[in-house]
């Protein structure tokens, strides 16, 4: 479903990604691990199409379609969802307004009928119920005054509503205590789907105790240095990333 081929990218002339190759099939969860500064978050931003990064070589294919020339909103409409490490506050905009606008923008883009207020509310209440999220969160302004855990749960709610083909969860565990982490992981697991490819980006193994990946990749110095099963995560936990520093050096 997601195929990244020989992806090179740079910021301001400095090369950050140096030839990434990665294939994630529908229904699979892949974890990308790596030391700080290895290019993990950059990879997620580049897939989502954030301004400021130059893709100098390679392709990002989703269901066979190259995304690299598309605007972020068009990639979202194609089914790319990025769960942010630091979800952004939008003061004065209620979560429902935001979610409805997002969903209907994507539906419009894909030639589907927009949901009216009633249909939307019904759908979103169903999702909050499934995820065990309080409806109160819908009325509040997007992420404003949310705790770290609430922000991450809001990301999961958005993912549930937008139902993406590709979900990228960038350092979803950062800033969460163990209880919040469990709740968020539970949400991700509930949203596991045979139709969806999921990319979990994390520094630590602990998230992977709760979201069990099919494959684990180590990203260091802009390249995938090693790939394996979930046992690779355990190995990294024990040995750290030191060997990859040397490999690059």
């Amino acid at each position: 479903m997601l195929e990244i081929k020989n992806l090179h990218a740079s910021i301001g002339g400095k090369e950050i990604l140096r030839g990434i190759n990665l294939t994630v099939n529908a229904g699979e969860i892949h974890a990308i691990m790596g030391p700080n500064g290895s290019g993990k978050s950059t990879l997620s931003y580049i897939i989502a199409g954030r301004d400021g990064y130059d893709v100098t070589e390679g392709e990002i294919l989703l269901d066979g379609k190259d995304l690299t020339a598309l605007a972020p909103e068009d990639r979202a409409a194609e089914g790319v969802f990025l769960g942010f490490q630091y979800p952004v506050e939008i003061p004065g905009v209620p979560n429902t307004t935001f979610l409805k606008e997002a969903l209907n923008s994507i539906r419009r883009h894909n030639g589907e009928d927009e949901l009216d207020a009633m249909q939307f509310v019904k759908m979103v209440r169903q999702k909050t119920k499934e995820l065990g999220i309080s409806d109160d969160m819908l009325k509040r302004a997007v992420n404003v005054g949310f705790s770290g855990g609430e922000k991450k749960r809001n990301e999961i709610l958005q993912m549930a509503v937008l139902n993406p083909r590709l979900a990228i969860l960038d350092e979803t565990d950062s800033g969460l205590d163990i209880d919040a982490l469990k709740i968020v992981a539970e949400g991700v697991n509930k949203l596991r789907s045979p139709d969806r490819a999921t990319l979990v980006i994390t520094h630590y193994q602990r998230l992977l105790d709760h979201i069990v990946p099919d494959h684990v990749h180590v990203l260091a110095h802009g390249k995938i240095r090693r790939s394996g099963g979930k046992e690779l995560a355990m190995e990294l936990e024990a040995k750290g990333y030191a060997e990859f520093d040397e490999a690059a050096a």
């Binding site: 605007a71 909103e73 409409a77 969802f81 952004v88 004065g92 905009v93 606008e101 994507i106």
Partner: protein, 492 residues
Amino acid sequence: MADTAQLTEQKQELSNDMGGEKYKYGFVSDIESELAPKGLSEDIVRFISAKKNEPEWLLEARLKAYAHWLEMPEPDWQKVDFAPIDYQDAHYYSAPKSAADGPQSLDDIDPEILETYKKLGIPLHEQEMLAGVANVAVDAVFDSVSVATTFKHKLEEVGVIFCPISEALERCPELVKKYLGSVVPYTDNKHACLNAAVFTDGSFVYIPKGVRCPMELSTYFRINEKNTGQFERTLIIADEGSYVSYLEGCTAPMRDEHQLHAAVVELIVMDDAEIKYSTVQNWYPGDKDGKGGIYNFVTKRAHCRGTNAKVSWTQVETGSAITWKYPSCILSGDNSVGEFYSIAITNNMQQADTGTKMIHLGRNTSSKIISKGISAGKADQTYRGLVRISPKADGARNYTQCDSLLIGDQCGAHTVPYIESKNMNAVIEHEATTSKISEDQLFYLRQRGIDEESAVALVVNGFCREVLQQLPMEFAVEAQKLVGISLEGSVG
């Protein structure tokens, strides 16, 4: 509470509907007009007065104002930049020929005028109003005259007078004579003085003692004829214990030359009465290079005469090449309350210098100012506000919050608060912030599928939410769309 919740929910739904439209009110209606000869003189003042069959006292007042205007300097303290106005290069009276004798029944109105209001989304047929959800009476002012006022008779049943000011001169001359110019004297400033000399039409409202006006009242101002100015005069009197919510909207065709709109609005509020006055100003702003557009030089002031009187100004200023207005409150009555909620949006080459004055004279008077300024393109805007506490205003309180939002790096936003307190007991709070729409916010919204312009509109609507919520439902819908439309082309 249920109503409020419902309203809030409905308002939340609005933001979906921000399509890509530019200034859609820029059309010209092909209507034969009767015009006064170009230029300004004592003869023109007499011409206007004669057209309106005015009483002698009013003609004298106009001539006095005109004489004063000749001597008066232009205000020069505002932070706006424009070439001097050639006052001799405009018509000071323009009326559709069919409406020259004042408002008639709808059957007599030029179909082209009816069509104009239909295009603007202002229904003048009462049955259309009743069929719809809106519960609003409309006074439609076309260039210099009122062409129709709806629901007059229904309002009369409860004693509410809502009519063009020229008609009020016949129906209740004593009220007009007593209050016209009592809040904004002709000596106030050059623009108000010009208005006092050449004002043509505008709305008059009287709400009798203890009456809660059963519907929203609104005036819809339309400038159509080229090379004209519009100088309307609005006078609203809320007698003891009464309440009224009044709305005004404004649009004009797109033209290459500037047109002057110098209005005066006076509100008089007695004991325990309340006036809620809302404006959605969408005059033609000029093109992106600053060619054309309306000069919106307006003096609006409320006088809270009575105890517990309350005035609330809400304005959404998105149009005009230049906006110069400071809806103000004179709080004479003890415990009287003044509020000012403002959204000012300037894009491209637009300029705005706007704010309010809260003059605390009575004891325990309180005022609240919430100003949201959004500047984009090469636009420049200033919040200018005065809070004055007189020595006798024991227990007076003011809270001011001024927030500015900048889009892009070529626009400007300025906050100029004046605070004059002569009473040691007064409590005055002032908060101000300036922020930019962040890259992070835009990327976050776009990542969720929302295109860049809609993302900006969403962030700005959130920024303005506190003020948008003050608007009556019918206007909130329109205003929220306007916010998005006004900022089109400001990013990317």
